[in-house]
């Protein structure tokens, strides 16, 4: 799998290079190969709990750098590649990775295919989640775009079908459907959460220490529909995702294994924009299904959603307000199952009230500042706080981004 992937990327980079220098024509980089990118650097400071890393002491481990290459080879065929280096707390460490890389062939407006590593359409904003300058706040609402689950849901090696159906006077319907496998990084919050859980279960079963923890995604598949009705500025969406990952590790001197499935991850979305206002709301449910060292983890079906308002006072200056809620188990909103396991009930929810300001200094340069007050410690917060978590906590983020 990885060998084939490497060969594909080398072929793609070669084709992009060839596209940049067509035979019998003057070298014209701008005509045949477009080069873009972005850089961002942030600072995060929290109180009460660490969030995504050592944020209690204040952390600059919050950045992304990307280089994007695109070439329209023919009317139908486009080749593209984005390299991404990111550091978000303990994840990323600025390793340079291929964010997406694809050959995109479009037969008709209603049918195209993308092969390679494709971004996954989950909710309205997952495909643009690494470009923070595209949205009013630094982090997308965590009930749906959980940073700890990013590795599993951001992109997959495989393919997707996409297209746009015109419904005449009734509007437009865009669809995307995909199947593939994810390069599941062991430094992701989700993998480290599984390792932490495996360690706890191994201790309970007196099996010894967990080591050499590796994650191997088996598959992801899903799709999205976005309906644009005749009312300007309104978009309605629905998306579906399912994925399964195997985890291999040593426990004591023996091999151990675990499986994790995120299934029936459904997001319902609505967004309405005018020139000054944007209102977005999304609702989600998903089922977790984990088995670690033969022990079935009672994950249940989680539930979440948010409402976000953004108002532009001037064309390039705006303010945002977010209310974002997540319940680990929609049938146990008060966290009583955690209490039964000897853990605090507030691991069962996360309620985030955030306010933010953003200033687009130019069309390429943006600064954002925001403050969040959070009740609850769901969404893997114990991974970053092994000494224990607090129920009420806050975080402040300052971030600047430049794109070209």
């Amino acid at each position: 799998m990885k060998g084939l992937l490497g060969a594909f990327y080398i072929l793609l980079i070669g084709l992009l290079s060839l596209a940049a220098i067509p035979p019998c024509q003057a070298f014209d980089l701008d005509e045949h190969l477009s080069i873009n990118g972005f850089l961002s650097q942030g600072y995060i400071k929290s109180s009460g709990n660490n969030y995504l890393g050592d944020s209690l002491d204040g952390s600059f481990q919050l950045n992304e750098f990307a280089l994007t290459l695109n070439s329209a080879v023919t009317d139908n065929l486009r080749l593209g590649l984005q390299l991404l280096s990111r550091d978000v707390g303990e994840e990323g460490n600025n390793d340079v990775l291929i964010d997406w890389a694809m050959a995109d062939y479009r037969w008709h407006d209603w049918l195209g295919v993308r092969l390679g590593k494709v971004k996954l359409p989950i909710g309205l904003y997952n495909q643009g989640r690494d470009s923070d300058f595209l949205r009013p706040m630094v982090f997308l609402p965590q009930s749906i775009y959980d940073e700890n689950k990013r590795t599993l849901v951001v992109a997959a090696v495989g393919g997707s079908l996409y297209g746009n159906f015109s419904l005449g006077a009734s509007g437009d319907l865009e669809y995307q459907a995909y199947y593939g496998r994810v390069d599941f990084r062991e430094d992701s919050g989700q993998a480290r959460g599984m390792e932490q859980l495996a360690t706890r279960i191994a201790q309970m079963k007196h099996l010894g220490a967990v080591s050499d923890f590796e994650a191997d995604n088996r598959y992801v598949y899903g799709g999205s529909l976005v309906y644009t009705p005749p009312l300007d500025g309104l978009r309605l969406g629905v998306s579906y995702f399912t994925g399964q990952t195997d985890f291999d590790f040593d426990v004591g001197a023996a091999p151990g294994d675990a499986q994790g499935t995120m299934k029936d991850f459904v997001v319902l979305s609505i967004e309405y924009s005018t020139q000054k206002w944007t209102v977005a709301a999304e609702y989600t449910e998903q089922t977790g299904d984990r088995e670690i060292l033969g022990t079935d983890i009672p994950d249940g079906r989680s539930q979440g959603g948010y409402v976000q308002l953004c108002y532009h006072f001037l064309d390039r200056f705006g303010a945002s307000l977010l209310y974002d809620v997540f319940y680990a188990d929609k049938d146990d909103r008060d966290g009583s199952s955690f209490v039964a396991q000897g853990q605090p009930d507030f691991l069962g929810w996360r309620k985030d009230l955030g306010v933010g300001l953003h200033w687009e200094i130019s069309s390429q340069w943006l600064i954002k500042a925001e403050y969040h007050m959070v009740d609850g410690a769901a969404l893997q917060l114990p991974v970053f706080n092994p000494e224990g978590v607090e129920r009420d906590w806050t975080y402040f983020v300052l971030k600047t981004s430049f794109n070209f």
Binding site: N36, M102, Q127, S166
Partner: protein, 141 residues
């Protein structure tokens, strides 16, 4: 006493003039070889948002934008119903998520006319006062 009304009229003209320029009339233009004569406004919107990418003869549509200015602002507001900033963000999302390449941009009407007259598949927009016989105006329904 006579100077006061004159000064008042002058001030009124100065105040009104930018408004008149900001609402610049534009024309959607294609290459003279392009057989298309009329387009629905919604079709033009889909073309500039990358949702309609082929002409009726099966050839791909090449889109050209103006970088900024009153013509660009009028076109984006009136046809796409977005602010120039929102339109720019729309294409940046496509660019950085790998779902599309933003259209090429030209600096002014003359550059757009030169690009459209050189490419049979291209569509753009210019100040209506800059129309000439090097390009063809599309009638908007």
């Amino acid at each position: 006493m006579v100077m006061l009304p004159c000064r008042f009229v002058l001030i009124c003209l100065l105040v009104l003039l930018p408004t008149a320029v900001a609402a610049a009339d534009f024309a959607v233009v294609v290459n003279k070889e392009n057989p298309v004569e009329i387009l629905d406004r919604d079709e033009v919107k889909k073309i500039f948002l990358g949702r309609k990418t082929f002409w009726p003869n099966g050839q791909g549509i090449d889109v050209v934008l103006q970088e900024e200015g009153e013509v660009h602002q009028s076109f984006v507001l009136e046809i796409l119903h977005k602010s120039p900033r929102q339109f720019q963000m729309y294409w940046k999302l496509a660019l950085f998520s790998g779902t599309g390449i933003p259209p090429k941009q030209q600096s002014d009407d003359q550059a757009v006319k030169a690009a459209v007259s050189a490419d049979p598949k291209m569509i753009g927009y210019i100040d209506i006062r800059q129309l000439d016989d090097t390009i063809k105006k599309i009638l908007l329904k």
